[in-house]
């Protein structure tokens, strides 16, 4: 499209928006409302996902090895120390780290609070708490872990994340063992590999009896409740995106029908079909962009007012949602293109010739 045609597209699009600002404003508001809901759900999905598995995402390893029968649940898995050497002998394995993780209760000076107790090799003495637990205890104070009645000193705070909506607390592996009635050597092993993680996981499961190895992605998906929570929100978000597409498509379909006579006049006076299409798509784009921007602005305010951790809208997730909304709006608006391309200039004569 040449610069001159670009001016004509802008001339027609802008003047129609200016004259019908209430109509276009209401359409943008509707798009904004749907965009707000999509952004809100995206933020909740990310927030819930973080609350469910962020503690696992921050752990090293491409493969997680469970004991057979643990059904990929960290707290049910228990493996012997001897398995570390067997796993290390599997081709492709470059490092093996033990990890114990169970739900526990910690009692500090300000009362009891739940933690996702994580035992790792090489952890500093004492217990390191996720930053969200700052109100529960201070550095140097002692907390008592149940089960086991193990007393540990608070060594510090760090961004450890959470598992199953419970903040992570990290202790040395021997401390974690003391909280377990059966005192297993470890719960699971985290494995680094220089090969395809899925292939390495299959190789470990085949080579080490009594184990089930899966990729880290599969281990995260297996966290109880995580898949159901995020799946439900993803489904609602999908419906909302479909609603937004239908909304934009329908509104602009009606707009196009209502202005068919004007379109015929423009065609009769020499406007090429692509000029009409360009003007139409510009209106759709302006309406959608304004609506999505308004929805985003409102959701930022709403997100700030929500409890910490419940809502998280990273730039990449927001950009993806915005792009999806815009792409779907443009795709849905294509329903009116046929009408634009085939409008009969004869209608401009105001009668059937």
């Amino acid at each position: 499209m040449s610069g001159r045609e670009g001016f004509a597209v802008w001339f027609l699009a802008w003047r129609e928006i200016r004259h019908g600002r209430v109509r276009f404003g209401l359409t943008a508001a509707l798009v904004g409302l749907v965009a707000f809901l999509v952004f809100m759900l995206t933020g909740l999905a990310v927030g819930l996902g973080d609350a469910g598995v962020s503690g696992l995402r921050r752990l090293p390893g491409a493969v997680v090895v469970y004991s057979a029968g643990a059904e990929r649940v960290l707290s049910r898995s228990a493996l012997p120390a001897a398995d570390a050497a067997r796993i290390a002998a599997v081709p492709g394995v470059t490092a093996v780290r033990p990890l114990g993780q169970t739900m526990a209760q910690a009692k500090g000076p300000n009362g009891a609070f739940p933690v996702a107790l994580t035992g790792t090799d090489g952890a500093a003495d004492g217990i390191v708490l996720d930053r969200t637990l700052t109100p529960e205890a201070g550095i140097g104070q002692t907390v008592t872990l149940q089960p086991g009645g193990v007393r540990v000193r608070v060594a510090g705070f760090a961004d450890l994340g959470s598992v199953q909506h419970t903040a992570v607390a990290r202790v040395p592996l021997p401390v974690w063992r003391r909280t377990q009635p059966a005192h297993p050597a470890t719960g699971v092993y985290l494995v680094d590999t220089d090969r395809d993680p899925a292939a390495t996981a299959a190789a470990i499961t085949g080579a080490v009896a009594g184990t089930e190895a899966v990729t880290r992605r599969a281990a995260i998906d297996a966290v109880p409740g995580y898949a159901a929570e995020t799946g439900t929100i993803a489904m609602i978000r999908g419906f909302l995106l479909a609603v937004s597409a239908l909304l934009v498509g329908t509104v602009f379909w009606i707009f196009t029908m209502q202005k068919e006579a004007s379109l015929a006049v423009l065609r009769a006076t020499g406007a090429r079909a692509r000029l009409l299409v360009g003007s139409y798509l510009l209106q759709v784009a302006v309406t959608t962009v304004l609506g999505v921007a308004a929805g985003f602005a409102v959701v930022l305010g709403a997100g700030a007012a929500m409890p910490a951790g419940a809502f998280s809208l990273p730039g990449s997730a927001a950009a993806l949602s915005a792009a999806l909304l815009a792409a779907l709006a443009l795709a849905a608006s294509a329903a009116s293109l046929h009408r634009l391309l085939t409008v009969d200039p004869l209608l401009s004569l105001g009668r059937n010739a």
Binding site: S2, A8, G270, A271
Partner: protein
């Protein structure tokens, strides 16, 4: 040495053997019509006689089933933008674009052909609106005008195109006697002053004394008039 013979300029509008059918029903039965430069021709005929179809074919809005339409010696093709540059319509009063002001309804005729309006274009538009007594309402939207004012705006809009052929279908239908006469005078003066050909479909026999020639159409056949 002999002088080259003078070549007569091609007539602005020529229809040769034009027929048009809607499905099985033929409504134009071989129309031959030539409009010379500077000529204003009245086209008379009862309702249903084929006047509007004839105008639509002459302006390239309808393709003839057979026959040919030429403007300044060049056949009209199916391209609307090309045809619109050469043939302008005086549209019906309800055909102004509702989201453009009266002045913008004139300017848009050039905008759609890829031209950005210049101050000279705006001055010309104002001048034409002055001629149809609408200068004071240039910034109004069509829904703020009376029927007669809208019709006069349509006339100004067509004149603004500077096309060599101007077609008008009942341009005075919604005007009172004085306004109707003024609009017809404007159209015929446009033909005289610019050398354009004007074809005026009308029921209004009062317009006949202002035009150069009259042709009439009945049942899709053209008869030279008076």
């Amino acid at each position: 040495m002999t002088a080259a013979p003078a070549v007569a300029p091609a007539a602005p509008l020529v229809l040769r053997g034009v027929r048009h059918s809607y499905g099985e029903a033929e409504v134009l039965h071989g129309i031959d019509l030539t409009l010379r430069g500077g000529e204003a021709v009245a086209l008379l005929g009862p309702s249903g006689s084929g006047k509007t179809t004839l105008l639509a074919v002459a302006g390239g809005l309808l393709r003839p089933t057979s026959g040919e339409v030429t403007v300044l010696g060049t056949p009209l093709t199916g391209r609307r933008d090309e045809a619109a540059r050469r043939v302008a319509y005086v549209l019906q009063a309800g055909s102004l674009i509702p989201y453009l002001t009266v002045e913008e309804n004139l300017l848009v005729r050039r905008v759609v052909t890829g031209r950005r309006p210049t101050p000279a274009d705006r001055a010309e538009a104002r001048c034409l609106l002055e001629a149809v007594d609408l200068a004071a309402k240039a910034g109004r939207y069509p829904d703020r005008l009376s029927g007669g004012e809208r019709q006069r705006a349509c006339v100004a809009q067509a004149l603004f195109t500077r096309a060599p052929v101007l077609l008008a279908d009942e341009p005075t239908a919604s005007l009172d006697r004085a306004r109707g006469r003024a609009v017809t005078e404007l159209l015929t003066a446009h033909a005289r002053d610019t050398g354009a050909a004007v074809l005026l479909a009308t029921h209004d026999e009062r317009a006949l004394d202002l035009t150069d020639r009259t042709v009439s159409i009945e049942d899709g056949l053209l008869r030279d008039g008076y």
